[in-house]
Amino acid sequence: MTGRIFAALRTLPASGRIGLALVILWLLIAALGPVIAPHSPGAFVDESVFSGMSRELWLGTDYLGRDVLSRLLWGARYTVFLALGAAMLAVVTGTSLALVAAIRGGWIDEVLSRSMDTLTSIPSKIFALVLVAAFGSSLVLLLVIMAVIYVPGNFRIARALAVNLISLDFVQVARARGEGTAYIAWREILPNMIHPLMADMGLRFVFVVLLLSGLSFLGLGVQPPLADLGSLVRENISGLSEGASAIIVPAIAIATLTVGANLLIDALKPGARS
């Protein structure tokens, strides 16, 4: 397995390597940020607000005079891990439902597919707004909401993949042998759709990062005193006219995270390698 991963890395095109480096960088920051952060995220370290980059404070200060670097190192974990968790939850749920729908067919497929269509028809931001307004914002709720929003997209893709695979003879062979739904789903079908599913999960991850940042920007995401990348942009919005690093840095952070993930996904797509 490890051998195959290394072999895959060696054939990765340059854009993919850049993407991989960015993704690894952000995962490290998310995991180790609090350890390496020079200050506490809530500590007021400077008299002046929106101060520029300096030898002491590399990325300057925010609208309250807190250290931007420390806040970024602390905040990245919410964005990265919430997005990763939500994307995984969405893919696991969507794919499981898709496999059941595709293998069982009939009314089960019909009910599941139409329910997913219904979910798709609700605009994602409004859906999130209503739920956050109703239940109040919490990290768990955010995770669940974002997973639910991205389940239908994954369900559609996974179901289409599974339906194609089910028509192949090896699934017929398994059926003729008398195998049950679980065996067919888990052993015959799933291993053959894992690559496109991983790509889809990467894509969902990017969507969730953007949605979460959007929600936080609207003040509905991660709540103070915690702050994710989107909240960092929002709270420093008044520094925009001055071109303060406090607003530019988190914006760049979001951009590099999503662009990096995108580059990596594109490079991993079958056929992308020359």
């Binding site: 090896f170 062979v173 042998r177 008398g178």
Partner: protein, 616 residues
């Protein structure tokens, strides 16, 4: 401009290839030759056949004559000449002007070669319009002429139809029209009849041959089938692994093949009759009055019936051949027996036990006793599993074998199918077509079935490989006493291989005959048509076949209450065949579904001679 020492030196050489090498470059920089040092010349107006198995480079060579290579392979040659054009010296834009105009290409599958959303006519005249050779009106007139010369029905109006509105054989002829419309100097035909039913193939071969002669074009005919090539080609080049084994006139290749490989190809194409199986007298599987199809079942009739009143039985260790063309219901029959498609009426009995119609209600033991080997070995093996995993599963599932016991049994199975143990760790993508089909077979054998259903197991394989697989199945059923249902479209192979033959036409059993009666010939008019349509390795066969009585012209509307073969039957009786369902006539070891009595039907020659040759 002559090729030294050849019997064709006197004629004008229209196509010349010398020292052709084609190689692919791997990402790692390795250069892998796929075609090596090919040279040939074709006199004007003659047809050269390129014969070989898949992977022999026959299509690659043919495409090189258009200056085209697949997968970015590069072409190197001393000379590739078509008429006065040096294909090997041409730039990309020059080649674009040549392709489809002076060299045209007819692909194997017309169905995928046509755009389904445009009419036939608009696509046939496209080469003329693209190359600005004619205006639309002249082009259309020319197309209609070609349709007529290719014996297409209603040539004036057929062009306004869409590709799905004509039959496969007709579409293939339309493809020929498209290739000939620019009056090219060279036509490349790539297995143009391989995807067709044998009865359709005859008609298409006839028209292709005639049209080629009329147009005077030089042609390259790519095929794996020596008997087909014998009908249309003037010369044959035999290829193996990208090199040329031999080249010569059709007569020379067929009568006095110089290379060992050509002889093995010919031997594989002529199935030898197997001795009688020492089958036990007890019936292991009995199918009685099965009616099945697709869609909602109402009063025991499905909305789209595929099989009607099918009955037969098979003894332990015997082989039953189920013969029919595409759409006759042979695969549906396999699915009904296995329970994948529940029958609407009738019973499948295993010994004395009536099997539930639906698979879900059959016990694991009942499922174990009936195993299917599917046609497409490519898709029948899970690409994500290794051979070991594939073979171990039925052992665990049916016999509860695990650990060393399972390993030992897997090794035994590999031995049975004659594969080395190092395939165990491989996945299906790392196996050849023949190896895949052997693994496929081993998986079915792992269940230790009483009945083995082989659904066209050799149709996707090369002749030599297919012959080996057939031998293997034959040995296994004799040694293990497995009743084998051998579904095929190839009557000559089935005839040599099986103890009983069942001929399906449009879902009805039109003839059922046992080996004891083979010598008296097959009787039903459809069976005769099938037998007569199998090309023989003899250059005169097509001409003789053309002189034989042609089937009556198809009548369009056919009622389900009448004999399904009526529209194509040359022996239909007015007042009987067109008014009521034919009776089943039975005599010892043979039955037919026909209004004509035994004495009125001319049996097919001396049984099925298969591909009798002029070699003996």
């Amino acid at each position: 401009m002559s090729v030294a020492g050849r019997d064709i030196a006197a004629k004008e050489i229209a196509v010349e290839v010398r020292g052709l090498d084609i190689a692919v470059h791997e990402a790692s920089g390795n250069r892998i030759p796929i075609v090596r040092d090919i040279s040939f010349a074709i006199p004007r107006g003659e047809v050269l056949a390129l014969i070989g198995e898949s992977g022999s480079g026959k299509t690659t060579i043919a495409l090189a004559l258009m200056g085209y290579s697949r997968f970015g392979a590069d072409i190197a040659a001393d000379v590739i000449r078509v008429g006065d054009m040096r294909i090997d010296k041409m730039s990309r834009s020059e080649l674009t002007r040549v392709r489809g105009r002076r060299v045209s290409y007819i692909a194997q599958s017309a169905a995928s070669g046509f755009n389904p959303s445009r009419t036939i006519l608009s696509q046939v005249i496209e080469p003329l319009l693209v190359h600005r050779l004619a205006d639309r009106k002249t082009a259309e007139a020319r197309a209609v002429e070609l349709f007529a010369s290719l014996a297409l029905p209603s040539p004036e109006t057929i062009g306004s139809r869409y590709p799905h509105q004509v039959s496969g054989g007709q579409l293939q002829r339309v493809m020929v029209a498209m290739a000939l419309i620019t009056e090219p100097e060279l036509v490349i035909l790539d297995e143009p009849t391989t995807a067709l039913d044998v009865t359709t193939q005859v008609e298409v071969l006839k028209t292709i041959k005639l049209a080629m002669k009329q147009s005077g074009a030089t042609a390259i005919y790519v095929s794996h089938d020596l008997a087909v090539v014998a009908q249309v080609a003037d010369r044959i080049a035999v290829l193996k692994d990208g090199t040329m084994c031999e080249e010569g006139s059709v007569e020379q290749i067929l009568n006095a093949p110089a290379s060992e490989y050509t002889r093995s190809l010919m031997a594989a194409a002529q199935p030898e009759a197997r001795p009688d199986a020492q089958a036990a007298p007890d019936n292991v599987l009995t199918v009685s009055s099965i009616t099945a199809g697709y869609g909602r079942i109402r009063d025991g009739m499905p909305a789209k019936p595929v099989l009607r009143d099918v009955s037969f039985s098979i003894r332990r260790g015997a082989a039953l051949g189920v013969i029919g063309e595409s759409g006759s219901g042979k695969s549906t029959l396999a699915r009904v027996i296995a329970g994948l498609l529940p029958a609407a009426q009738g019973d499948v009995m295993l010994g004395d036990e009536v099997l539930p119609r639906a698979m879900a209600r059959r016990s694991r033991e009942q499922l174990r006793r009936v195993q299917i080997v599917f046609q497409h070995a490519d898709t029948a093996l899970n690409p994500a599993q290794t051979v070991r995993e594939i073979l171990a599963r039925p052992l665990a599932f049916y016999h509860g074998l695990k650990g060393p016991a399972a390993d030992a049994r897997v090794a035994e199975l590999l031995d049975l199918i004659q594969l080395p143990t190092d395939v165990l760790a491989r996945r299906s993508s790392e196996l050849s077509g023949g190896q895949k089909q052997r693994v496929n077979l081993a998986r079915a054998l792992a269940a230790e079935p009483d009945v083995l259903i082989c659904d066209e197991v050799t149709s996707a394989l090369d002749t030599v490989v297919a012959a080996a697989i057939l031998d293997l199945i034959d040995d296994l059923r004799r040694n293990l006493g497995i009743a084998t249902i051998f579904i095929s479209h190839d009557i000559s192979n089935a005839h040599a291989f099986c103890d009983d033959l069942l001929v399906l036409y449009a879902g009805s059993v039109v003839e059922l005959v046992s080996r004891a009666r083979f010598s008296e010939g097959l009787h039903h008019p459809y069976t005769r048509l099938l037998v007569d349509s199998v090309p023989e390795m003899d250059t005169g066969w097509l001409a003789r076949r053309s002189a034989a009585d042609a089937p009556a012209i198809a009548r369009d509307a056919i009622s389900p209450a009448l004999c399904p073969f009526l529209p194509r039957c040359s022996q239909a009786i007015v007042g009987a065949c067109d008014t009521e369902w034919p009776p089943r006539r039975e005599r010892d070891g043979q039955s037919i579904l026909c209004h004509r009595d035994w004495g009125e039907l001319r049996p097919s020659g001396h049984g099925v001679q298969g591909r009798t040759t002029v070699m003996s």
